[in-house]
């Protein structure tokens, strides 16, 4: 049996620690230690995107990422994006556009879409396909997912405009 080593990292904003084995991947560690069931091992080769996790703000395939490597890092999962009570704009858009069927690939899709929209607030269809091509959906809800990303982009732009107006109003008032 391999030796356990305790790692410390931030998970969805909170400091945590876990004893992990050297061969344990991030999917196993997050599920075993913290019941982060949005992180799912499917293909096991980093090709389907069901295990998408952010490490230090960048999406990685959790099934190919050794848990020991997140020591000292900031880790975020789909659980950290929104809750049942307060969905993120991207999650809302996936519901409005029916961007899923069985839902197994959905958290991974939403993680990638969220990161895409941070980098590119107004992506074209081609840009969405390119960015999301590492995420697979066997139910093939792809057209609805693309629609959901556009819808989410609109929502995010609208809320930015609202924020900007509020800031402007605050500045004027101030």
């Amino acid at each position: 049996m391999a030796e356990y080593r305790t790692i410390r990292f931030r998970l969805n904003g909170r400091p945590v620690e876990l004893a992990v084995q050297p061969h344990e991947n991030l999917v196993e560690a997050l599920r075993r230690g913290f019941q982060m069931y949005s992180v799912r091992e499917s293909c096991g080769q980093g090709l389907c995107g069901c295990c998408t996790v952010y490490v230090n703000g960048k999406a990685v395939s959790g099934c190919l990422y050794l848990a020991a490597l997140v020591d000292g890092c900031d880790v975020q999962t789909a659980e950290g994006l929104g809750t049942l009570q307060q969905l993120s704009p991207v999650q809302e858009a996936f519901i409005e556009c029916e961007g899923f069927q069985c839902g197994f690939c959905t958290p991974g899709m939403i993680m990638m879409a969220t990161q895409l929209l941070q980098e590119n607030p107004n992506p074209t269809d081609e840009e969405i396909k390119h960015y999301m091509s590492g995420n697979l959906c066997r139910c093939a809800a792809y057209p609805e997912i693309i629609a959901a990303v556009h819808r989410a982009a609109e929502k995010l732009r609208a809320s930015k405009e609202t924020d900007a107006k509020a800031d402007q109003a605050a500045t004027v008032a101030g």
């Binding site: 599920r31 799912r40 969905l87 519901i95 197994f104 066997r138």
Partner: protein, 787 residues
């Protein structure tokens, strides 16, 4: 003429919930990652199982040495068939034949067959130990191709064939011992020889479909545990919990009430999680170890567990000069792999539709389920129908072009219309054959000129239409429970694997009971609380379970109305159920909760409605294979595509995809669209690139790296879905199943479009660039070798 009206309360017109575009009830659970899958289930003290699998395709087992594996620190135990036999003396299972051993006994019949299991609390330890199990094999002659296996007298996969007799429709299937033919089905309708003699032209072609895999992204998983009283509790990603219970109870010789089977949401199914897969093994492991045991397949293992049948179809068709099909003779060999699974049902149910949606004077059909030394084949979204449509709709185009007819006109001329007998003798009723074909023609702008491209990029278009008979006879039972406050729960065994059944069932119950679909709770399948359902398969749930839920809701409604009538003194017929309560003629309104409270003097009690649905069926005549009631309803799907073919590479790009399906009545139009479009894309993968490649029975591309499924870049440029509604007299609110309809026509539509573009015909899927280019070069009189 057949005019079967099913017994029970007839559907009223929808009252607002049926037909509403309700968002899936579990939407928030799915987007937050909280949705429950058995994939997530871990139990305290649980052992994890890893399977030692056969490395050869056909062999006698000379010995299994587990000592080195058992000695590995952390290994709890290593289990072989010898251990299984102590708890289950006759450990053979299967829905059609009891031919599959829980672990291999004496012989292995395919690469990947489970031979032993390692158990450990750490899955990595179990995995490592599987490499230490030594199995000695004495290899036997293997057989892989279905036609060779059909003929072979030396390579025999099963010495004895064992029919199961579990399902009513499969009881008459007779195997042929000492051959590889598990089952055969024959249909003889009319004088085929005489009809062929009348034909001006006879066409004969052979088409083949390759073996492909379901690959649900949630790999199949089962967790089993013993209860406090020693009963079994099985948590499983199954599409058929009722069948799992029946089969595990049978294997153990237990009554059904000692086996509890429950499921959650499934991360896709597509037929991979049907009947019984890991459950018998994991149940046996829990009994042997007296501890909870979990077995979750890897993606690689999914390729060795269940697949879609490869099939060879030889189809001979006689036509007159003016384009009437007068005779058809079709022979199909289904590559069932090493174990029958549900292959016999594929052989029969698909077999009898091989004449297509056409009105033909005389038809002769032969369909053979053949054992080979490949991984077992079962049901995959369409139960074999797409493999047959591939043949008859490719040939329809060939014939039309030979006759100089437009392919659409040829189909119009021969299409089977309502009121006319299908080849089985069953009169076609309430089926949208004509409507789907005409909608397809309209959406494709078929009467408009079409730009066929020039230079190295050529364009073409093609259509195809297919028909599928719903599996019969099957039963669904549902309960509708009004709780003491008047809120509603629906108890049904339909498994929501992404098709949106929870939402559809809630809409049906809500419509009857005057509730909002969002306020109805669906209780997930658990044989301890939900009643019997045959399975979630073959697009049967909306029709069968939809009817059971409708009847259960009607029953509950009648009971609460009777209670209110008693309390108010009004005639029950004068009472109206709406908005979660009952309105009386004097303008009063009583909620269901208030009615129950009045009855019990406090918030208490239940109103339980029960619905059971079992459509009328007549089994086929053993001589002719015919029946006047072969199916409760027909599914009709059509596909049209426009493609671009690159003359230099052979690559085919679908620029426009039109999917048309008849759903009778869309209970939820959004979900119906997604089902049609999803099935169409899945079939696009099977058509253009998906293929299990074998070397001596081993899958050489058993991973997502090597076996590509459709992704974002494979989408057609334009994707259109069209819903046709031809209501069915016995469907709930007229509805029929739709889950497979989108998969029916796609493969031949693409092949027909390729022909239209570049004038070459491909007879075997997938339609890879290599095949297209090879055919093109042959047509141009150029060799392939120097390419």
């Amino acid at each position: 003429m057949s005019k079967v009206m099913e017994p029970g309360v007839q559907s009223a017109a929808p009252s607002g919930q049926v037909g509403r575009p309700v968002k899936r009830l579990e939407s928030a659970a799915k987007v937050t990652g909280r949705a429950e899958y058995i994939h997530n289930l871990e139990l305290p003290g649980m052992l994890r199982a890893k399977v030692v699998r056969s490395t050869v395709a056909h062999a006698r087992i000379r010995g299994i040495d587990t000592s080195a594996a058992k000695a590995l620190p952390g290994v709890y135990d290593v289990i072989t068939a010898e251990d299984i036999l102590k708890v289950i003396p006759d450990p053979y299972y299967g829905p059609a034949f009891h031919d599959q051993p829980i672990l291999a006994i004496d012989k292995v019949r395919h690469v990947g067959e489970p031979v032993a299991v390692v158990l450990a609390t750490d899955v990595h330890v179990a995995d490592q130990a599987t490499d230490l199990v030594e199995v000695e094999y004495e290899e036997l002659e293997p057989v892989f191709h279905e036609v060779e296996a059909y003929k072979s007298q030396t390579a025999i996969v099963h010495d004895v064939i064992r029919p199961a007799g579990t399902f009513a429709d499969l009881k008459s299937l007779q195997p042929r011992n000492k051959t590889n033919v598990a089952m055969e089905y024959h249909l003889r309708n009319g004088d085929v020889d005489a009809a062929f003699a009348k034909a001006d032209y006879v066409f004969e072609h052979t088409f083949r479909s390759q073996q492909v895999n379901h690959l649900p992204l949630e790999p199949t998983v089962t967790v089993a545990q013993l209860t406090d009283t020693g009963n079994l509790l099985i948590h499983t990603s199954s599409q058929s919990p009722s069948f799992v219970r029946i089969e595990v109870a049978r294997l153990l010789g237990w009554p059904e009430n000692k086996v509890r089977v429950r499921t959650a949401y499934l991360g896709g199914g597509f037929g991979a999680k049907l009947y019984i897969k890991l459950e018998a093994l994991v149940a046996a492991l829990a009994l042997i170890t007296q501890r909870p045991v979990r077995l979750s397949l890897t993606m690689e293992e999914q390729f060795y567990t269940i697949t879609r049948h490869a099939a060879t179809v030889t189809i001979r068709t006689g036509v007159t000069k003016d384009g009437r099909i007068v005779a058809r003779d079709c022979k199909t060999w289904w590559n069932g792999g090493a174990y029958a699974d549900i292959g016999p049902r594929v052989t029969q149910k698909s077999g009898f539709t091989a004449a297509g949606p056409y009105d033909i004077e005389a038809v002769s059909l032969d369909s053979y389920a053949v054992y080979t030394n490949l991984p077992p084949a079962g049901a995959l979204r369409g139960f074999g129908i797409p493999q047959l449509v591939w043949a008859y709709e490719s040939q329809a185009d060939i014939i039309a072009r030979e006759l100089g007819m437009d392919p659409l006109e040829f189909r119009r001329k021969n299409i089977l219309r309502n009121g006319r007998p299908h080849a089985t003798g069953t009169i076609l009723e309430d089926a949208g054959t004509v409507e789907v074909l005409e909608e397809l023609a309209r959406k494709m702008n078929w009467d408009q000129p079409f730009d066929r491209g020039s230079g190295t990029i050529r364009r073409g278009r093609g259509i195809a239409i297919g028909v599928k008979a719903a599996v019969s006879p099957t039963t669904s039972v549902a309960f509708v429970n009004l709780y003491s406050d008047g809120s509603c729960g629906v108890y049904c065994g339909t498994v929501d694997m992404g098709q949106g059944s929870d939402t559809a069932m809630a809409q049906i119950a809500a419509d009857v009971l005057g509730l909002r679909a969002e306020d109805v709770r669906i209780i997930h399948p658990d044989t301890e609380v939900t009643p019997y359902d045959m399975a979630t398969l073959g697009s049967r749930s909306t029709f069968h379970m939809g009817n059971a839920v409708r009847l259960a809701a009607e029953d509950a409604k009648q009971k609460i109305v009777a209670m209110c009538a008693e309390q108010t003194g009004f005639d029950p017929a004068a009472l109206v159920v709406r908005d979660g309560g009952v309105a009386t003629p004097d303008g009063s309104f009583f909620t269901f909760g208030a009615i129950l409270a009045k009855r019990h003097g406090m918030q208490a009690g239940n109103v339980l409605g029960v619905g059971s649905y079992f459509p009328y069926y007549e089994k086929p005549n053993p001589e002719t294979g015919m029946s006047e009631h072969i199916t409760p309803y027909w599914m009709v799907g059509g596909t049209g595509v426009e493609v671009e073919v690159d003359m230099e590479t052979g690559k085919v790009h679908i620029t426009r995809l039109v999917t048309v399906g008849d759903c009778g009545k869309a209970i939820n139009p959004g979900i119906v669209r997604r089902q049609l479009s999803g099935a169409s894309f899945m079939q696009m993968g099977f058509t253009l690139f998906e293929e299990m490649v074998f070397d001596e029975g081993q899958v050489v591309n058993a991973s997502m790296a090597d076996y590509k499924i459709p992704g974002f870049w494979d989408l057609p440029d334009i994707n259109e879905v069209s819903i046709v509604e031809v209501p069915h007299r016995n469907g709930p609110f007229g509805a029929k199943g739709i889950g497979e309809t989108g998969s029916l026509g796609l493969s031949p539509a693409v092949a027909n479009a390729i022909y239209d573009a570049i004038g070459v015909r491909i007879y075997e899927t997938p339609l890879t660039p290599e095949k297209v280019l090879k055919a093109l070069r042959e047509k141009q009189g150029q060799g392939w070798e120097d390419a």
